[in-house]
Symmetry: C2
Subunit: 347 residues, 2 copies
């Protein structure tokens, strides 16, 4: 490893000089070496090595107009953002995919409503080539910002302003929430359960709504007393379970919209001595690491590949950027990733 000369790093100019070629040729080699004869390629590469040359990113960006970075905008006002393993896995997937394409991840956390101005400025400033953002509420200013800034953006989770799952107005990646819910509820039904309740997530999240829709797809004309609303947290799940038991002591199954709430529900059932799955069968959603397998009893749930969704978001975006650059290929479509039922002991 060549020591870093004090102060200035070697430039392409220096490499070219050392290799005895022009700056243009050196540049070609550094960028893949197409159309340069082998011996010259080798000479340049050697010079790069000897000098410890590293391209100056700013100079390159200045002329290519590409930054090699994408923004990940997280606008969740909640604290949950990072604590939520959901996000964490998604980010992991994004990071892996970006890394594989030599693209950097710039994290933009929105702390308050005033931050959107800053975000807008940043996105417009040519700092990044594209953006990834997470499921948004109806009045979220982000789409307008990215559109105005001309920044290609892929969303994680169906944005709430899209009419239906599959809506193509804006590219997004989401799990097949509705289909997964359908399979889960159908499974409970096939088990012979007749009074299948549902603990849903917050109605302003499309994933919660889609899962509820899936539940309703199977149980048309379901009695509203069988549906309770939670907040995707353990506590809210426990509360909703207690509420359901009060309203409908006769229920014999619950499809819970996520594993966290399901674990809360299980706790309540255990406390009341209600046997799972004998008296009440439970199916969760997410197949969350460190939760679904650890509950008592282990949770039957709907698996979705969260990290894969992250990867997919990144891949979609990168593909779109590539298309912008090369001018060929079609606009990225949204992707709905499959879900699968994982049978454990709770149902």
């Amino acid at each position: 490893m060549p020591e870093q000369s004090p102060g200035s790093r070697p430039t392409l100019e220096a490499v070219a000089a050392r290799a005895g070629v022009s700056r243009a040729t050196a540049s070609r080699v550094v960028n893949g070496g197409d159309g340069v004869r082998k011996p010259l390629v080798d000479k340049v590469l050697q010079a790069v090595d000897e000098l410890g040359y590293i391209p100056n990113h700013a100079a390159r960006t200045l002329v290519t107009r590409r930054t090699g970075a994408v923004a990940v905008v997280i606008a969740e006002p909640e604290i949950r953002i990072f604590s939520d393993p959901f996000f964490s896995q998604q980010i992991r997937g994004i990071s892996k995919e970006l890394t594989a394409h030599d693209t950097q991840l710039v994290l933009l956390l929105v702390e308050g409503p005033g931050d959107f101005d800053r975000i807008a400025r940043y996105l417009s400033g040519g700092h990044v080539d594209g953006a990834l953002a997470f499921s948004l509420h109806t009045d979220d200013p982000l789409p307008a910002i990215t559109r105005r800034a001309g920044i290609p953006t892929v969303y994680g989770g169906r944005p709430s302003w899209t009419a239906d799952p599959g809506d193509q107005a804006v590219p997004y990646v989401d799990a097949d929430n509705r289909g997964g819910a359908r399979v889960a509820v159908q499974y409970l039904r096939d088990l012979g359960r007749e009074r299948i309740a549902h603990i849903g997530g917050p109605p302003d999240q499309t994933s919660a709504m889609d899962r509820l829709d899936g539940y309703r797809d199977v149980l048309i004309d379901v009695d509203p007393t069988l549906v309770a609303e939670g907040g995707f947290t353990v506590e809210s799940g426990a509360r909703a379970m207690a509420e359901l038991l009060e309203r409908r002591p006769d229920l014999d199954a619950v499809f819970v919209a996520n594993d966290l709430m399901a674990s809360g529900a299980l706790r309540v059932l255990r406390e009341r001595g209600i046997a799972v799955p004998e008296q009440v069968a439970i199916v969760g959603f997410d197949d969350m690491d460190g939760v679904a397998e650890e509950t008592d009893p282990p949770l039957t749930t709907v698996n979705q590949d969260i990290e894969g969704q992250g990867r997919l978001m990144a891949r979609l975006l990168l593909r779109g950027l590539d298309r912008d650059r090369t001018g060929n290929g079609s606009a990225p479509d949204s992707v709905i990733t499959p879900t699968t039922l994982v049978r454990r002991a709770s149902a």
Copy 2:
């Protein structure tokens, strides 16, 4: 808001032309306007506004040699990284501080050992002005990388190769783990507890070791059977508690190295019908949101300002960068942030 002309954004040149000044003057105004007479300032500002001018970041970086971005390197191989509220809060603090200084956060996740090469290349590539990294294990290659790349770096948590808390070889921010532990244990002692056990964290984390040292500071010559080792998780805390009860059924207090383990310990005590705090008093560490207040009974614990630590890390780094630029000020020192005992019901 001016519509974005198709393709190219307006340049400083355009702004200057519109305002009827030279590019140099326009540049001065955009960068604060020092030494430019009021009327000209206004004209330029108006032109900026009308054109919707946004400075080209790459061009600016090319000449100033500052990127306005810092890397946050997260090298935890564990999944815990993001799920851990600890990190999440720290990142929040970092993000807030950076944002306040118009600096961007580039997230570098290390997925495997091979990634260090990529990280090294990135840090050397002049993409960022500095780096923030989290508590490292002894053989972590990161310090060497940042040193060679000449990238100022501030660490979160005392790096394990530093001899002692307070070691100034490398700037870091850490809570006063040892002092906090001392206060906690002393408190238990003042309560009249005589057999105070300890559930420690993993020995390769300095925070765990420092807390253990604090415990030992108060309880010199403590019986080793009173000390059990956990892994900073709920489950490991429960296991350690069970182990301690087996070894020392006579214990009357436990200082637990973090709240997560403390909640596991509480569960075990509850299951065995041991009254807290009457029979066994418990003190945790971290005062973790959503944990310490929610346990049964609520946890007496040592509070540390995690988000504040994040802010401080960023501030230290930014100050260092500023110093590098202006050439005055002293090298950043490490900072140990204070901890305070929060009395709740468990002790």
